[in-house]
């Protein structure tokens, strides 16, 4: 059994620890506002009033209307909903779905699932830094494209996509909707969600921003046709049935506010540490850095030649540091991640990818400790 409190947790892109203030909201709302917000009675009315306030707060922060925020169970559901819901409701516009080759599995698999319904999927290639090739997008974006889904920040290597440029190209050259998975960017870097330069829909997940697992939302920029994927009592303006999780969603509204309030300060801190670690890795001839200084401030990714990522994760854990292989979702799957393949990492490196992701509560001392531990581990596994 690991003493969790003493571990240095560098896996914030997998999930985060809920903020104490957010947890407090969650507990208190559960205690006092547990009534179903759809109920007619006074307790229900109060739950609903609180839920509306939470929705308004989020809408205000991301600059859209409250009725265009749809609470979901998190990132995967939001991505499923966006891709399937927009594609199905707008089939008359076309049947092609475009995604980048480094999307999260929930986007890739949702798109793939739509093949059965007669949609065709095309993948947009990325360069060595994981940024999509704009020319490839232009080439593949045709009049019959209905949904384009390109993430903001990649979860494995932290690459940032040129969102404004993508949005402009998509809006000017097609009638397609641009959906953006903002799970890894929201609260870390500014997410633009207005005007022609912004995406039409964004996915945000609660547990990546110190809220609770099982919460998240899909935000729409304007009113648009989107078909629900969960049918039932017509909650969430008919877009997402199922009793609304008021405590999770109110807690999420608080986490969203806190994340945005802290964003610029954290970004500066994280960038400093990221650059410091990039510099640090240079001394090891057999370590190749995959994340770039142009990428998101909180994701650092590197590959060690001839080793398996899993060995490094174990060895670092032994030193008291929690890191992950390329991503938590694929970490139990021994094949090489599709992102690592897409950015064409040299074959001798591709199995040795590890990711350090920063978040709340990390200190300068932790980063220094990481460096010492990493050197020690390298000494054990490479330089013996």
């Amino acid at each position: 059994m690991i003493l969790k409190d003493k571990m240095i947790y560098l896996d914030h892109s997998a999930t985060t620890k809920p903020d104490p203030a957010v947890l407090q909201t969650f507990v208190q709302v559960n205690e006092h506002y547990y009534a179903n917000p759809a109920s007619l009675h006074q307790m229900g009315v109060e739950s609903n009033a609180l839920l509306s306030r939470a929705r308004e707060q989020i809408a205000d922060i991301i600059n859209t209307l409250p009725e265009q925020i749809i609470f979901t169970s998190g990132g995967s559901e939001s991505n499923n909903f966006a891709i399937k819901g927009l594609a199905r409701a707008n089939k008359h516009r076309g049947t092609k779905i475009l995604v980048s080759s480094i999307e999260h599995a929930s986007v890739l698999e949702s798109a793939k699932a739509m093949e059965e319904e007669g949609f065709t999927i095309e993948y947009i290639d990325v360069d060595k830094n994981g940024v999509i090739l704009i020319d490839d997008l232009k080439k593949k974006l045709t009049k019959d494209t209905v949904v384009v889904s390109i993430m903001h920040v990649n979860n494995e290597i932290g690459a940032i996509q040129p969102v404004a440029e993508i949005a402009k190209i998509v809006h000017q050259n097609s009638r397609a909707f641009y959906h953006m998975d903002a799970v890894q960017s929201f609260g870390k870097i500014p997410v633009q969600f207005t005007g022609e330069d912004g995406p039409d829909a964004i996915t945000v997940s609660g547990h990546k921003i110190n809220a609770l697992k099982g919460s998240g939302f899909l935000a729409l920029r304007k009113q648009m046709n989107i078909q629900p994927i969960i049918h039932g009592g017509g909650q969430e303006m008919g877009f997402r049935s199922g009793t609304v999780a008021v405590p999770q969603d109110v807690a999420l509204a608080k986490a969203v506010r806190l994340a945005i309030e802290k964003q610029s300060k954290k970004a500066a801190q994280f960038s400093k540490w990221r650059d410091e670690l990039h510099e640090f890795f240079k001394q090891f001839s057999y370590v190749s850095t995959l994340s770039s200084s142009q990428g998101a401030p909180h994701i650092i990714s590197c590959a060690v030649q001839g080793l398996k990522g899993e060995i490094l994760v174990n060895a670092m854990q032994h030193e008291g540091i929690i890191i992950s292989t390329s991503s938590a979702c694929s970490s139990k799957d021994h094949s090489v991640s599709h992102v690592v393949k897409a950015i064409q990492v040299e074959p001798s490196y591709e199995k040795g990818v590890i990711r350090m992701s920063l978040g709340e509560g990390i200190t300068d001392a932790d980063i220094a400790f990481f460096k010492t531990a990493f050197s020690k581990v390298m000494h054990q596994v490479k330089e013996f």
């Binding site: 909201t25 208190q28 007619l40 306030r53 939470a54």
Partner: protein, 400 residues
């Protein structure tokens, strides 16, 4: 943009003669009341203009946001100020126009020089400023007659004032300048709209609501309170009189034939309202009634209901189409509250086939067997009074 003050142009007040000052003072008082939460507000009034200012930028923005809802204002313009040098004026002019959606628009500078010692004459100043703005912000063309954007510049000795935006106000007359009326507020779509139109004509409104627990719920009362809160934003506070109506309503069910219970209910409501009206010294009763909309709103029904009092009953929506009313309700933000699905006192006891042409003599006869006056007196005595806007206490703030 840092605004120096806001210039207000009066609405219909300007057609007033000797009592113009009364109207202006009323508007001033209303502004003070509505903006009580803006501590640094300064108001200066002149015969045909009023000026609002605050030395806090966020307060100025708040004023600009809320002014369009205040009655008695025709239009207003935020005014910026700078040093009386041509360099500063150029800078400010560009800054102001830049915030407008200026691409492809026509443009003109209109200067006034009350400080005659200013080194440039009016035409020279207009030309210089105009060409500076045009060269800094390409995409506009000059047009002297009816330009899209007219930059007004006033040169005084100590400062220069500039404005460009003319924002429409709500029009009408300052609330309170036309006396007070009592509104029958059911919680439906129509009555808040009726309140809005009365307020627009300068009438101060108090509201009366008939509450029949347990047939109607706290939520339906909550809805009415929220409506009061909403309409109180148009200036002036609103008092809500909540009448315990259960007893009267039950008595009606037991004493008149079923098909006229509704008519009788409306007559009793009118009687109650008239007692309250007398007590608060209002001059009229206002309803959201609308000809032919439902059984109680045929001319015969209206006549039968009206017969219980000689007080003027004003029905500002009498000729409106339902869709027109809905449109206004949406505009003033009461629609979403009104359509919440709670039973109110009118829907609980609706007879299956209400009489659409009740006869006054028969109504008098049916009601003559019960002593309603005593019940009415008791109901009025036991009423609850609430005042809006309520002091904001945000119970949810800690959670968010």
């Amino acid at each position: 943009m840092k605004w120096h003050e806001i210039l207000i142009r009066y609405g219909e007040i300007t057609t007033k003669g000797r009592n113009r000052k009364l109207f202006i003072n009323r508007l001033k008082e209303n502004l003070r009341y509505t903006f009580a939460d803006i501590p640094n507000l300064r108001i200066r009034s002149e015969r045909d203009r009023m000026y609002l200012s605050s030395n806090v930028d966020t307060e100025m923005e708040e004023l600009i946001k809320r002014l369009p809802h205040i009655f008695g204002i025709h239009s207003f313009s935020p005014v910026a100020q700078c040093e009386p040098t041509i360099e500063e004026m150029g800078k400010l002019a560009v800054e102001i126009v830049k915030d407008m959606n200026y691409q492809g628009k026509t443009f003109k500078v209109n200067a006034k020089r009350s400080f005659k010692k200013f080194p440039m004459d009016t035409y020279e100043l207009q030309r210089t400023l105009g060409s500076h703005v045009l060269s800094s912000l390409p995409g506009m063309t000059v047009q002297m007659k009816n330009p899209d954007i007219e930059l007004r510049v006033e040169v005084r000795e100590k400062a220069v004032y500039m404005m460009v935006d003319v924002i429409s106000g709500a029009g009408g007359l300052p609330i309170g300048s036309n006396g007070k009326a009592l509104l029958l507020l059911s919680g439906g779509i129509d009555s808040p709209v009726a309140a809005y139109y009365m307020m627009k004509r300068g009438v101060r409104v108090e509201a009366i609501h008939f509450f029949s627990p347990p047939f109607t719920s706290d939520q339906s009362l909550g809805k009415v309170k929220e409506l009061c809160e909403k309409i109180s934003r148009f200036g002036g506070n609103i008092r809500l009189h909540v009448i315990p109506f259960t007893e009267i309503q039950q008595k009606i069910q037991n004493s008149v034939p079923e098909n006229v219970t509704m008519t009788s209910t409306r007559r009793m409501m009118m009687k109650v309202a008239d007692v309250v009206r007398k007590e608060i010294d209002a001059k009229a009763i206002v309803t959201g009634e609308n000809l032919g909309q439902v059984a109680s709103q045929t001319l015969e029904s209206l006549a039968a209901i009206n017969a219980v009092t000689t007080t003027p009953i004003l029905r500002p929506l009498i000729t409106f189409d339902k869709l027109e009313i809905i449109e206004v309700a949406k505009k003033i933000g009461t629609y979403d509250i009104s359509i919440r699905p709670f039973e109110d006192c009118c829907t609980v006891f609706t007879p299956a086939n209400p009489k659409t042409k009740p006869r006054i003599d028969k109504m008098n006869y049916y009601e003559s067997f019960t002593d309603f006056d005593e019940l009415i007196e008791r109901a009025v005595k036991n009423r609850e009074i609430h005042t809006f806007p309520k002091k904001q206490t945000d119970e949810f703030l800690d959670f968010l």
